[in-house]
Amino acid sequence: MYYTFRQFPILINGSSILAESCGISFSNELNPSLTTQKHGTSEYVSINNIQGSIALNYYFTGNDPIKTYINTETGYISGYFGGLFVKSGILQSYSIKATPVSPVVVNTNLLFFEQLGGALNTSTTPSKAIDDYKIVNFSDCSLTTTNVSNVDNIENISEFNYSFSRDVKPVYTINTGLNLNNLIPDRIYLGAKQIETSFICDHLTGTFPLTGKNQIVTLNFRHPNLSLSDSISCSGLVRSKTIDFKINDYVTSQVSVVQSITENPPRITGINPNYTYPGNFLRISGDNLNNVTSLYFEDLPAENYYVLSNTLISGIIPTGAISGNIKLNTFGGYVEYPYNLTYPNISISNVTPISGKYNDSITISGLNFYKIDKVMFGTGINGSAGNTTTGSYSILDGQTIQAIVPSSGIWDYISVISTQRQKSGVSPFKFAAYPQIQTFTPNTGLSGINVILSGFNFTGVKGVWFNDILSPSYTVTHNTGIVAKVPTGNVLGYVSLSGVSGVRVYSDTYFYPEVVLTGVYPSQISAGQRVIISGLNFQSGLLYNLGDDTFQVSFNGAVTGMTLWMNNYMTGLSGYLPSEAQTGPVYIYKTDGASVYSTTGNYTKVPGTPILSNITPDFTYTGQYYNGFIEGSELFNITAVRFSGNDNTFTLNKQFLISNTYLIDDILGYRLNIVNYTGFTGGLAYHNYTGTYEVQAIKTNYTGVLSDIYFTVNRS
């Protein structure tokens, strides 16, 4: 009948293992007994002894009964396989393949040269002990690579393979009593052995020296709930590198490290002294220490080490070390041992420069800057402990730190802290962290409004200034925000802050006071009359300067220049109403000359005295129709043009019709087209008198204004 796997427990050296599979194979070696005359035979001759192998896969649970045989060439492995047993198994190969988040499975192959003893026994009591085992998962393992030549920093290992193999041959001598009952060889020859590890990582450089590169790969097995700790290690040379590019997959690099020597695993039994300072020698006693390949004090390599004997080495503790575990590799494996340190005090001798703004780089000098995890700017403010993106620091060496001024610094001492060493040092003087204005809003407005400033290091701000005029009140809302009231006066200029240390920092841009127009005086004006515009913040930097300190103003589209009036107060503009201006709004121009301020004033244009400058043509003939035009200013609302004789004997009142009024240009003023209207023929009689007449404009309130232009009627 067939039996199931549940019925046959596996024990190695008497210990249960969580075996996944086990295959036992053995064969004899028989040759047919042939002669030159006989080409076939039923007789066979044994030419070698029985050789068996056991392929065993099992879950790694710590205290591995087979792993120790990697390092030793003595001793046999006994195996019990559901009633069958071997007494003298030899480890031929041992391998582990590690993939993320999966259980650790060991694949081994044992050889034996003896008769398989016993018989299958289904009544074997299944092992209960294995219930206490814990399977180690690779997600709980740590895999470290130590590059002895310190070239590559390999991390992010996604797959790891470890394999040990060696040549095993039985050696028989003649006449040693070997027979069917005694198959044991005289001795076992253990030949070349090799440990090879390979790992897949994201390290894609082509760095690969001809002579290889010393690399130590150590896989530490740990279990989260138990104090289970074991390791496998390979201290050897990098022998190959493979970089794979393929679609639908990551680009990976496979590095292979080979070690061709094994020995008994190292052991540390004691250290001396038990407490010492970094930088001192530490003597480490133990076993199998002849071939140390690396010595680390926690995370730092020993500054140097000396193998004094197979049982004693001496290493110099690195100055930056902290208490922890000695981590020692030999060709035989990996071992850890705890040690304790006494730390020297941290001191700060200088800070250069002694002031700076956010994101500036400063240098801190002193002693024992090791394992520093905080550089504090101000008491209680963790400025640049490396936990923010804006503030950071770097340890240049044990005496120098380069730190970036954080956004939260104030005028205070700088402290350098090592949490791990429980030491700290304070600068001998205060560092002035300059406040810094990044932006402020609004950037324009009247005195009395609140402006919000954004920036850094506001905690120690002692004054807010607008164009160097102190703000009457301000509030530091937080280290990056201030609300300040705009003071009265000329506040056109930079916004600035004064800090506790007496520093003064300025914004990059101006604050622009708002120009406000409050009135036009007089509100009823005629052309050419003086006009005053009242308002706030009338000053050169805010108004469009036409040159000669005249500033552009628009009276309902009629643009003119005005000068500052009582300019100490910045409250007035003085000028004259342009002749072409019409009743409407007044605008004040911004410095670009195109846009205007939001406030406007209003005025009413009242008629002024018409001024005539030209009439074209300036003659006609008796009895003729006349078409021509008059030029001048203040011609709006003219109702008629009159020609007055020298003797005042006649007039041509209303005999000319103003047909059109249009602007010639800004300088010449307005032109009136005057034509005979149809009723003019009736007035021809008047026209029949030759003579020279003064041209007059007829306008409400300004009837019969004289001018210096004349019109001639000639005899036709």
Binding site: P9, A98, P100, I135, F138, N248
Partner: protein, 276 residues
Amino acid sequence: MIYYDQCDVVLNGSGIMAESAEIGVSPSLAPIYSLGRRGVWNQTPTAPITSNISINYYLESFFDHNKNTIDFIKTGDVTTYAPCSTIIIGNVTGSGYLDSFSFTAQPNSPIMANASYTCFHELIGDLQQKNNRYGYNKTNSSGLAHGYTLHVTSSGNSQIIPTYSLNYSFSADWKPMYKIGDKNPIQINYLGANERFVLNRDVYTGLNLISGVSMTGYLNVTGDTNLDIISLNSVANTTNLSTMNFNLSGAKVSNNLISAQIDDFVRIQTTAINYI
């Protein structure tokens, strides 16, 4: 107990009108047997934990986060940034990578979409009833996608050769990278995606399948090459229309199926795939 109307379904901070939603967490545990032991020794993780999220929801043409994700995959810098969606179902929150997105449009019916995501990190939050933090149906149904307003291709020409149903599906491949000594991926990257258009029409044209035929050429589209889903309010000719576009260009016909059955016209189902 949380009844369905008290269960928020939120995608990237916006409530979506889901008819159903699922989150499944799947630790990869395998039984460990041992030679010589009667029962199973234990179960142990053999692969990283993953969660799958699936949501069935009313597609709104005025805005859809999944469509945004698809557009980003098509045109954005997906090499350096793998777009991840935050999905909340009853306060249980996952960061998911869009595995698939699909919808089927039928005449006279609102368009329901299905989106599924894979989360490579653990879910957070416990089941809680809604707290009215998220709004739903912001356009008061006027922005819904509907068979009335889906046009193949540009809206003015979609009835020249009518389409009787349409299925759009998108799928993407993501690859997490794990390292020894960590349960969570150290990075997640986009590998590839494809989108598939399945159209049901009543005209058949021969295909030279060996060299491939572009979908836009095969459909003999008039107008642009977009498949437009206009918001439902377009039937009332109102303003504030929104349109969701799926571009057919680049897709090649992969299958043409003529099917005939009683009480129906002969349908030609054309499938085209666009690899992104």
